[in-house]
């Protein structure tokens, strides 16, 4: 997973000034930055502050990342550091008498590692989904909606016969499974299994 060629290509293109590639990076990794802010229980304003700092640091460094594939790890540790900075600044203000270590309950390295893995999986699955034909995206989004739709609903909304929903669902999932984005994380999962760990 650490040498996902798609991530490397994205980073190299962004480093050369390609705004589209930069947007792809933001789309892909903003959930990672956001989820770490949530873990540190930052409010919206502080999260925006952290996000801004992290992205500006990345803009500055993107041409110098020695291993583009290590981007998620770099983003996670940078976000963590920025979260702690923001927390210290605001809590020091409120409780000037307390030492730092009593102020910032640090969710710790294990949490960060877990968030990176989850974010990588989510990002890869989402990237694969985004490349599906529109019909597949609409169908899968309806099937996975928080308020489940009946096949009759789906049939009426998407203008397809009820009988073809099942087969189309299978074809769309096959297509998703064949995406290089999914292959990249499946390789990672397999390595993990080989090491005798259980995925959650």
């Amino acid at each position: 997973m650490r040498d996902d060629p798609l991530v490397i290509a994205m980073v190299n293109r962004a480093a050369r000034g390609d705004q589209g590639a930069w947007n792809d990076i933001i789309e892909r990794y903003s959930p990672l930055v956001w989820s770490i802010c949530l873990r540190y229980r930052l409010d919206r304003q502080d999260s925006d502050d952290v996000g801004q700092s992290v992205w500006l640091l990345l803009v500055e460094r993107i041409g110098m990342l020695r291993e583009p594939a290590a981007l998620p790890g770099w983003l996670a540790t940078t976000t963590q550091r920025e979260c702690l900075r923001v927390l210290r600044a605001s809590r020091r203000h409120e409780h000037a008498e307390l030492p730092d270590d009593q102020l910032s309950p640090d969710p710790g390295a294990a949490m960060i590692e877990k968030e990176i893995l989850a974010a990588e999986r989510d990002a890869a699955v989402w990237a694969a989904f985004a490349e599906l034909p529109r019909g597949c995206r609409e169908l899968l989004a309806m099937l996975l909606s928080d308020h489940p739709h009946s096949y009759e609903d789906i049939s009426a909304t998407l203008g397809m016969r009820v009988g073809s929903i099942g087969p189309m669902r299978a074809r769309c999932l096959d297509r998703l499974r064949q995406s290089p984005h999914i292959a990249a994380i499946a390789d990672g999962a397999r390595d993990k299994q080989a090491r005798g760990e259980r995925g959650d």
Partner: protein, 154 residues
């Protein structure tokens, strides 16, 4: 063989997709937008060199140059501290940093990996082959010289 098919069945794939879509929905759109906008600060430290001469826009001169040498096109990029003189020949792009000094030149192309070239001590360098698509040159030299040209297509 497709390694993935051993991994996720339809239900696992749907569960992974449900999770991925939920993770994205959780992020406020303004948070994502702010991230995209941060790219406006890309290369803030590099000074942009302006194209101040292009032989294709100076037809008489181009004809004269052609008659005397193998030069096909000449370009000049000017910044506050240095000037980059470029000359396109049949199979290479020749350049010189003015005033003469050793420099490092990155060739940044849209469609191929960056290549780095070191000039000689008087600032002369050669790029071979000539980049086929749009590219720009990023020139760094002693004293904090950090200059980026606009995009060039030859």
């Amino acid at each position: 063989m497709n390694v993935v098919t051993d991994g996720w069945d339809d239900e696992e794939l749907l569960a992974a997709l449900r999770q991925a879509l939920a993770a994205r929905r959780a992020v406020p759109p303004e948070f994502v937008e702010a991230g995209k906008n941060a790219f406006a600060w890309h290369n803030i430290d590099a000074e942009l060199a302006q194209l101040t001469y292009d032989s294709t826009h100076a037809p008489q001169l181009e004809a004269a140059t052609r008659a005397e040498s193998a030069s096909i096109r000449a370009l000049t990029f000017t910044s506050a501290r240095i000037t980059l003189e470029l000359e396109v020949t049949e199979n290479s792009l020749l350049g010189q940093v003015v005033p003469a000094q050793a420099a490092t030149i990155d060739v940044e192309a849209h469609d191929s990996p960056d290549t780095q070239i070191a000039s000689d001590e008087i600032g002369c360098f050669a790029i071979q082959p000539i980049p086929s698509g749009p590219f720009r040159l990023h020139c760094r030299a002693a004293g904090g010289i950090n200059v980026l040209t606009g995009w060039i297509t030859l």
